[in-house]
């Protein structure tokens, strides 16, 4: 199982994702440079957090044109696993690999804090190690993480069960008070229809060891590491 971690200028969660893949999960790790279109045979490509190109103008706006993105698009079309975390989620939306967009937090402030997430689907290669409707704890760290999609798009997402994570309270109730950024429907993460492209604002790589305050994140990495072989590219 080989994870690719994409590095854009301005990416900063690359090393954290790499650390978890390599040191915590013990899977194979390959950094992928944004200028290089070659995905080096990776089974799952992670687009990590950061401020690619400073996120000036709009988050992810410039990054999506990098050479590596074209290959990632093709890889996704073939069923390859693509996982956008934070800035990576923003880039996937800009690139059209996921619907909707991420806008300024309703507080207008950057937020770095722990949240609770309801895992709405565990039948995905990214969540198979979670239990049914499990509540997991995970930090966010973003200024523009408020999920937006037009009403029609949103209802299609809901109908298809494409919402994977929702901000909730510790008891699993999806309440406005548990929503840290004003996301529609408390959305924290979504998947494409085919089930191989995941975008999420919270940072699983920051909570994959107990000394960092929690280890729920490692479940997602373990899910992928355990499952990838089954869903692989045709």
């Amino acid at each position: 199982m080989k994870f690719g971690v994409v590095v854009f200028p301005g990416t900063w969660s690359d090393r954290d994702c790499g650390w978890v893949v390599d040191q915590v999960v013990g899977a194979q790790l390959q950094y992928l440079w944004h200028k290089d279109a070659d995905l080096k045979g990776c089974d799952c490509v992670i687009l990590p957090g950061g401020f690619a190109y400073g996120d000036y103008l709009r988050t992810g706006a410039i990054a999506r044109f990098a050479p590596v993105m074209e290959s990632i698009g093709e890889f996704a079309d073939r069923g390859g696993l693509v996982w956008g975390i934070c800035n990576g989620f923003q880039i996937l939306c800009e690139a059209g690999l996921l619907p909707g967009a991420l806008i300024r937090n309703s507080s207008l402030e950057f937020r770095c804090e722990w949240t609770h997430l309801m895992v709405e689907r565990k039948d995905l290669p990214f969540t198979s190690a979670c239990s049914e409707r499990e509540v997991i704890r995970m930090p966010i760290s973003h200024g523009e993480g408020s999920y937006f999609a037009e009403p029609a798009v949103l209802s299609r997402l809901e109908q298809n069960g494409q919402v994977v994570f929702r901000y909730c309270d510790p008891g699993g109730r999806v309440l406005p008070s548990a929503n840290p950024n004003g996301s529609l429907h408390n959305i924290a993460g979504i998947i494409n229809k085919r089930g191989n492209v995941l975008g999420m604002m919270p940072h699983p790589e920051r909570c994959s060891e107990p000394e960092l305050g929690g280890a729920d994140g490692v479940k997602l990495f373990r899910s992928v590491a355990g499952n990838a072989m089954k869903v692989l590219v045709s």
Binding site: L57, R58, A61, I62, F65, C93, E94, P99, G100, A101, I103, R104, N105, S106, S107, L108, S146, F148, A149, E150, P151, G182
Partner: protein, 88 residues
């Protein structure tokens, strides 16, 4: 020929504009009670070389579609200037 495009990108009406709300509140607290609504967007000034105004317009339009605005959440429009002249 040198042209200058003044691009204005605004959040779509259906998109929440927390920034606009906050600016509005800020203005109200400062005593500008007559303010009814505020929307906040982006202003981008692009100077470019083009053969004709027509070409300039097409290029700027393409820049907006590809990079400057995100059609999911934003609308855009622009004005083109050319050596003092202004064209909508």
């Amino acid at each position: 020929m040198k042209a200058t495009a003044r691009v204005i990108v605004t959040p779509k009406p259906v998109v929440n504009d927390p920034q606009g709300l906050t600016v509005k509140q800020g203005l109200m607290t400062l005593g500008f009670r007559e303010v009814e609504d505020v929307r906040v967007g982006k202003y981008i000034e692009v100077s470019l070389e083009a053969e004709t105004m027509h070409e300039a317009r097409e290029r700027v339009e393409a820049m907006c579609r590809q990079l400057l605005a995100n059609h999911v959440i934003e609308d855009f429009h622009f004005e083109l200037d050319h050596e003092g002249g202004k064209h909508r």
